[in-house]
Amino acid sequence: MVWCSACVKNVEGTSDAGRLWCSGCGKVLEDHIFSEEPTFVKNAAGQSQLAGRYVRSRESEISASRERILENAEYELRCMRNALDMGDNEEIIDIAKRFYRIAIERNFTRGRKSEQVQAACLYIACRYVLGAVFLQLCKALRLDEHPIVQKLVDPSWFIHRFTESLPGGRDKGVMQTAHRIITSMKRDWMQTGRKPSGICGAALYISALSHGLKCSKSDIIKIVHVCDATLTKRLVEFENTESGSLTIEEFLLKAKELDEISKQPIMADKMDDTDSSPSEQRILCEHKDSGKPYAHGLCQICYDDFMTISGGLDGGANPPAFQRAEIERLKKTSAELNANDSGIDTIASESLDNSNQLSQFEKENNTKSGSKNKGLLPTEPVSDGAAMENTADDIGTEDCDDESDNFSDIDDLEVDGYLLNEEGQRYKKMIWEEMNREYIEEQAAKEEAAKAAMDINCPEGAKKLAQITEAAVAKRKKERQLARAAEAKNSTPAQTAAEAVHQMLTKKRLSSKINFDVLEDMFETSEGPDVSKKRKIDSHLDNDNKMPHDSEELKYDAYKDDDLGMEQEYGDEEGLEDIGYNNHDYVEEADEYNDRDYDDF
């Protein structure tokens, strides 16, 4: 029974299609039309807007935007998976999605490209090593202690994949030889600290060549993704090892022998070899709680892994970096010995003796004088430097307690040398203002805008002014950037090395110390008198006027661009002529004051 105001009594209502109407007079009493589709209404400004609000669904605690993000991520992951030809692997997507969700919750996606994070999640899901993003994500996902991350990459794992891409196709012999070469490299300490792809590339190259496959270095480079220099370096290093000088048959024989030996059980006295006392036989690897100490603080599993990945502690050659260091050390010691023997100048030899003694005994002295170590001498001391340092250090030690403004110890002469006199200050000011003109202009504009904004009289107008000036400044910046980019595009490639340098100098404006006048003259003389004349006459021609020329005139065209570029450069400096200095003097002054700083060090 519903009340009808027209009939002024309670009536039975008939409901039909969402409407309730009075059975007496037919007036519509209730009108509840529900629409399942989103409806639109016009808001106050006259624009259509979606009726209703977004409500958090009670089922999950994810907000609508987050759901959108996850859906988007899923889509992207699928695309990536398809691009990588992984087939219809739904599991991968699920795992990757879960990782991504955790990453979002830990705020990992902020400041990073979402594609990168998605790729990293997919990567982890596929159990492979990616890079820095992967590492950080592992940290964020608290995967630090997880076994996947811990396992170091063994170059041998890649051989299988890389051999397939070789021109000869998958060749078991090649794969095996490559494996053996890598094992040999490991034994010779070539692989510790190196990217596995470089090692792989070298092993593959050698193995392919020795099996008669025709593959060049560039083929390998394409497969393995290293650069030519790295590949060459690895090959040279391998050449220097013992195994490098064997023929392939000898090498394979030796490899077989070593295989046999490594299969023998590791003798118990390996543990006694280590210097550690019995109490130190702790287990340090990840299997702290579960395993038993086997060798070097590792459980057996980890130790075996370690041996396969690295090749063990004994070995043939030293790592190349260590070899280089050894050579340098030997050079130094032999140089010192020679210097000692010669004794041409007694003073010189004395100082050298001192330096020798110092370098040998400094270590002992330093360990003896524990807390007095404030003045450690450098490893390559020069006698003057050492003396100066000593005094400086003494002063330093005195001062350490006195933190107040007692600067009496500081050498006033030196400090006064740092300060400029009146004239110098004037010049420096001009130079600085000249170099930072753009910045000063921007600052002036900003200040004006700020002042105008603070003005109480017309707040709106002032705000507008501020906005306009800011926009103008930004626009000017952009215009300048675009002009520069356009210039870079339009300028033809230089014909000679001299022109290339010229172009670079004008473009990059590397230094204000370079006297462009002189540079111009330099190029003038090298190009010849005809070209220079042409340049002066035709300098007003614009850049687009490019008709097919012969080589000389082509040079001239390129020169035109440079010339115009140069004129721009001069434009800045010409402003100074008003002050009364010509270009040469100005540049010289700059050199005077700047060179002193930087050349004396």
Binding site: I261, D314, N318, K374, A392
Partner: protein, 196 residues
């Protein structure tokens, strides 16, 4: 080939390469004025909002900010760092600013040393999974994060080390002493014959 002797831990001492310190001058500074008045100062506001002042003796670089704070880098010892900072503060004082030398603090010290034997970084990585990060694909050195003292060491296969993150010299020595035996564990050994 002549081999260099392999000394024990007490003989090797890390050499300090760089000391970074900060000091507070306690007053606002006008960077324009400082640049104009000082010969050894450079100021490029588009790149960095601080004056870069270089001292000749001791050779160091000092960054001076408008707030009155100063950072001194490039010195080879704590005393040198303090001396360089003092020289700069004195220079600024002479320009007429009311500068003081407050809260001088060494923030970081970097040292390096050489243990003179090759090291199997993989072994170190296996044996110390919690404090070690070794990714040869990214960087050839192994990063060892020691918790006590709180120091980071970079260990390379050639046997060279870089020790950084220390605020005091003793920390560096202590860290080196702690890691030396761990390194020795994975030292390269030479067996004269392979065949049994």
């Amino acid at each position: 080939m002549m081999e260099t002797q392999q000394p024990s831990a007490s003989e090797i001492v890390p050499t300090i390469q760089n000391v970074i310190s900060t000091v507070n001058l306690g007053c606002k500074l006008d960077l324009h004025q400082i640049t104009v008045q000082a010969q050894n100062a450079e100021y490029n506001p588009k790149r960095l909002h601080s004056v870069i002042m270089r001292t000749r003796e001791p050779k160091a670089t000092v960054l001076i900010f408008a707030s009155g704070k100063m950072v001194c880098t490039g010195a080879k010892s704590e005393a040198e760092s303090e001396l360089a900072a003092r020289k700069c503060v004195r220079t600024i004082l002479k320009m007429g600013f009311d500068a003081k030398f407050n809260d001088f603090k060494i923030q970081n010290m970097v040292a390096n040393c050489d243990v003179r034997f090759p090291i199997r970084l993989e072994g170190l990585a296996y044996a110390n999974p919690q404090c070690t990060s070794y990714e040869p694909e990214l960087f050839p050195g192994l990063r060892y994060r020691m918790k006590e003292p709180k120091i980071t060491l970079l260990v390379f296969a050639s046997g060279k080390l870089v020790i950084t993150g220390a605020k005091r010299r003793e920390d560096i020595h202590k860290a080196f002493e702690v890691i030396y035996p761990a390194l020795g564990e994975f030292k390269k050994v030479c067996y004269s014959s392979i065949a049994s």
